[in-house]
Symmetry: C2
Subunit: 184 residues, 2 copies
């Protein structure tokens, strides 16, 4: 049981999901490939943290839908009571930013322009998601789902994503404004 497996349990605490869906949904919080997730799910099933049933689909291939067990819920509760380790951010752009005076401003501009577009795309996706949540659970302006509402977690996470995205966009724009237009 490593952090990733607790992450999978956390997702499964909301609803049963296939390994495929788990892989897609865990990306924003803890990036991992299916090659890491499928074997983990097997282990967790042996350890009785999860169960699965094979579900036949008419339009798509069969899938294995995993559900969290009571033992899994207990594991989650214990894990929540332990302090969370510090976040780990690895960003190539930060390493590059440190030595940009080595190259032409045009190179640096491209770097930050690409990153700006990356964050703008993310922002759009997140805004769409939060719009949907607000729609389906009709929340008033500034209102937050109740603490015991299963949507509470998704809501505060989406807000974090939005806030971080906006801050990063602001930073990229500020950096771009500090890069000279011509070859210096």
């Amino acid at each position: 049981m490593n952090t990733l497996s607790y992450g999978l349990l956390s997702l499964l605490s909301h609803s049963p999901l296939s390994g495929y869906d788990l892989t897609l949904r865990i990306q924003p919080f803890w990036p991992a490939k299916h090659s890491q997730i499928y074997p983990l799910l097997s282990q967790m099933e042996k350890d009785e943290q999860v169960t699965f049933e094979t579900v036949a689909q008419s339009d798509k291939p069969d899938k294995k839908v995993y559900s969290i067990t009571d033992k899994g819920i207990d594991s989650l509760r214990e894990w929540l009571s332990e302090p969370a380790s510090a976040p780990v951010l690895r960003d190539e752009l930060m390493l590059k930013a440190y030595c940009v005076p080595l190259v032409d401003p045009s190179i640096t501009r491209d770097l930050f322009q690409s990153r700006l577009e990356y964050y703008r795309n993310n922002l759009q996706r997140y805004e769409e998601k939060i719009r949907k949540i607000k729609e389906t659970s009709d929340l008033d302006e500034g209102e937050v789902p109740a603490y015991r509402d299963p949507l509470f977690g998704a809501y505060i996470l989406l807000n974090k994503a939005l806030m971080s995205c906006r801050t990063n966009i602001e930073w990229c724009e500020w950096v771009l404004s500090a890069i000279p237009q011509d070859h210096t």
Copy 2:
């Protein structure tokens, strides 16, 4: 030559540093332990990206001070011309946040209170650092070091750190305000 080795080159492009110092300084941008960095430096030395000289110190043990070579500078310039890969953030608190309705609000409050203190400490360290940079290079309010100034990189990175820190503090405080005071 992986990302970490380019990161080391990036740091060395400003000034020569020991493996020990490199380990400390790269943490905010690309966390790595000395056990990963020392062998990498040996490889990079064999590959002529860096050179080192042993420096005797009277008050502390001897150290190996690494400098970037011209070949290393060329490598850096090429690397800067390639697009930067997407940032990777792994944060246990985000995984936990998703399933906090499973536990008492007091548990959740502790989680976010600790994280808030973590960010407040970081903010203080970053504010001190930027204060020192502004002091030594006497910048006016809102002024940014010139693009070719070696401090340009450090300055924009510190600003990113400050902005992110403040946003995260704001988020933690907002989440804490949404957690009920009593057992719900």
